[in-house]
Amino acid sequence: MSIDMAQFHQVFFEESFEGLDIMETGLLNLDMGDVDAEDINTIFRAAHSIKGGSGTFGFTAVSDFTHVMETLLDEMRDGRRQVTQPAVDVLLGSVDCLKEMLTAIQGEQEVDVARVAEYKKALEVELNGGESEQAVTDEPSEPSTIESNTDNVTNGKNIWRIAFSPHTNLLKTGNDPVRMFRELGLLGELTTTVDFQGVPDFYDLDPEECHLSWELELISDVPESDINDIFDWVEDECDLAIQRINTNVETDTPAFTEEQVKEETPLSSPKEVKTESSKKDIAPAEKPIKKVAAKSAAKTSSSIRVDTAKIDTLINMVGELVITQSMLSLVGEQFEMNKLDQLKNGLSQLDRHTRELQESVMNIRMLPISFVFSRFPRLVHDLSSKLDKKIELVMVGEHTEVDKTVVELLSDPLVHLVRNSLDHGIEMPADRVAAGKPETGTITLEAYHRGGNIVIEVKDDGKGLNKDVLRTKAIEKGLIDEDANLSDKQTYELIFMAGFSTAEKLTDVSGRGVGMDVVRRNIQSLGGNIEIISELGKGSTIAIHLPLTLAIMDGQSIAVGDERFIIPLGSIIESINIKESMINRVAGRGETFRLRDEYLPIIRMHEIFDVKTAQATKLTEGLVVVVDGQGMRCGLFIDDLLGQQQVVIKSLEANYRKVEGVSGATILGDGSVALILDIPGLVRLSNQ
């Protein structure tokens, strides 16, 4: 039976990456002074699982590598080896190396052999630094193949006499002499003679014990090892003697050494050897086929791990829905006016269940933010030792859940922010002490929900942002005028401007060419924003506000002629009727209106989207919706406001192409399509 092992690869990769994360966290949490055996055991187990799986699924490079790690961990676990920081660092490096190997294999790319060898070497050096040198060398080579080759050379039939007397407890391990005899029978002609002598008196007989012994005679051409194999499991539960009593072949050397085999193979049995080698020829030919299958699997699947409780809720909800549906169809079968109440009831139930179902389906896409946070202990560990700073990382609210897409896209900006805090925020230990602060700096990563948003804060107790330095720098770079009057907030926001970097020189920790402007753009592309709070000498906090999900949002539907548009509810400030007196027309620059003390540009929706059926073309006739797009406010001139609703965002890009001013589309209750407005894009569009 042939089984396509490639179907298990995806699961194997997932659990291996998970295992590597467990190893990494475990290694980082090891307290050198007081190592908990259970912690080491957890790390060991993860390595062990990866080794077992990779061996089974044919990734021998991975299993060989993990074997060395496992040996090292095993010695630590047994207390044969001290857990030292260098050893932990080597293990951490190996975790990285394994990650790379697995990623490469998953992506069907070449494994960087040199790099792997380098790490393996480091592991072996660490291993041999201790007392056990042979641990590495007794790598599982394949002695068994050589053995069987040797035995295959033996030709002709032998008579084997086997004395088999099981110990009384043999049956209690689930072994059965009859099964073994059946197997022996398959090897050749078998004669069994049973010896009852050991059987006690009936009254003393324990039926769960075995008191029989056997004398077996096997006439067969199989090598001794095949017979031994059958008794392999019961070696310690029986007395066994296997003896060859008659041979009728030329070669009767009981055991061959390897050299002898090499010499004799061509002489004694070329046929046997040939089958062996031809088998080997076939094996590599099968490989490419497997690879193709694995390739398609790796590329297409993007999977998600879901808490079973969530699935249970979902199933429950579907159950409710089915009940409601059957109730409704019952009502509908023979409908009379007096059943109207029942119908209304059913419909409202249907409404509720659909909503709940929607919520729980959305919930499936929600992942705890710890998926992103988990990489930071390592990052902080590595960087702080590189920078010679003492830094403690505190994580709060790791279980806060966010949409999967947000989790994936949040990772890079957060890394950048944490790096910045480490590099520029936290001072050197000596400076901290001089400033009267504890020697160890603290970086806090915190996530929490607020309203429909999730807030992620990166907080440090470092030196904070120096407004004067920021200002001077910005003037130097020509980003602001010398006499510009900036509020605190605006000053801090300078760091988000392209081309702004306060670091004296680029270090390899932060400032690799991507600046805070990229971070802000990334966050904004997720529909979020970013703000800075800082106090000189006390530290800075950078807070990222993000929508909980990118797939559903609260929208306000508006009418412009026959067309329906959706404005994200969060970006609406107010809606007003404007009077002629408020309007200001600037030649060549369009129209503005005065709202309290501010002049805001007006965007005529019917013109931008070329809606011929628009009812209001005079500004005083329609409505103006004041919206905020990334700090830029403007008024959208529309016919009417319709209603607020949750809309499911469908990508326009995926189905058509990117359209400036439109972030996506949705399908309304009546089946028609409405475009979702991208307010910042719209503002840009109107400025052109």
């Binding site: 039976m1 089984i3 092992m5 179907q7 298990f8 690869h9 699961v11 194997f12 997932e14 659990e15 957890t42 060991f44 187990r45 062990h48 699982s49 080794k51 077992g52 799986g53 061996g55 089974t56 699924f57 299993s63 074997h67 496992e70 040996t71 599982p140 049956l171 209690k172 391990t173 689930g174 072994n175 099964r179 059946r182 197997e183 769960e208 392999d232 499991w233 310690d236 539960e237």
Partner: protein, 120 residues
Amino acid sequence: MASILAVDDSASMRQMVSFTLKGAGYTVVEAVDGVDALNKAKTQKFDCVVTDVNMPNKDGITLIRDLRGLPNYKFIPMLMLTTESGMDKKQAGKAAGATGWIVKPFNPDQLLKTIKKVLG
């Protein structure tokens, strides 16, 4: 057809074992660790148990020892999946009542051959 309890904390190995055995017509129930397996073994009688050794919550050897204590599992075959390096594990397993072992890495054919051997 015989029913088999397949125990492994690694989902890929578990699925591979389960898929292979189901393909050969056996009824297979999966368990994620020793505790899960023991609970499942108490609610249903299996004809054979195949278990990983290194698992959280309850390892394979303790599981085998516990199962042997149950009247239904006194004599049924129990196999451990173990790595080559774990010779000491084999002995510990035997002492706990394991019937035998399958050495990792193994392929589906080897697994089936061994299962057929113990289930006849």
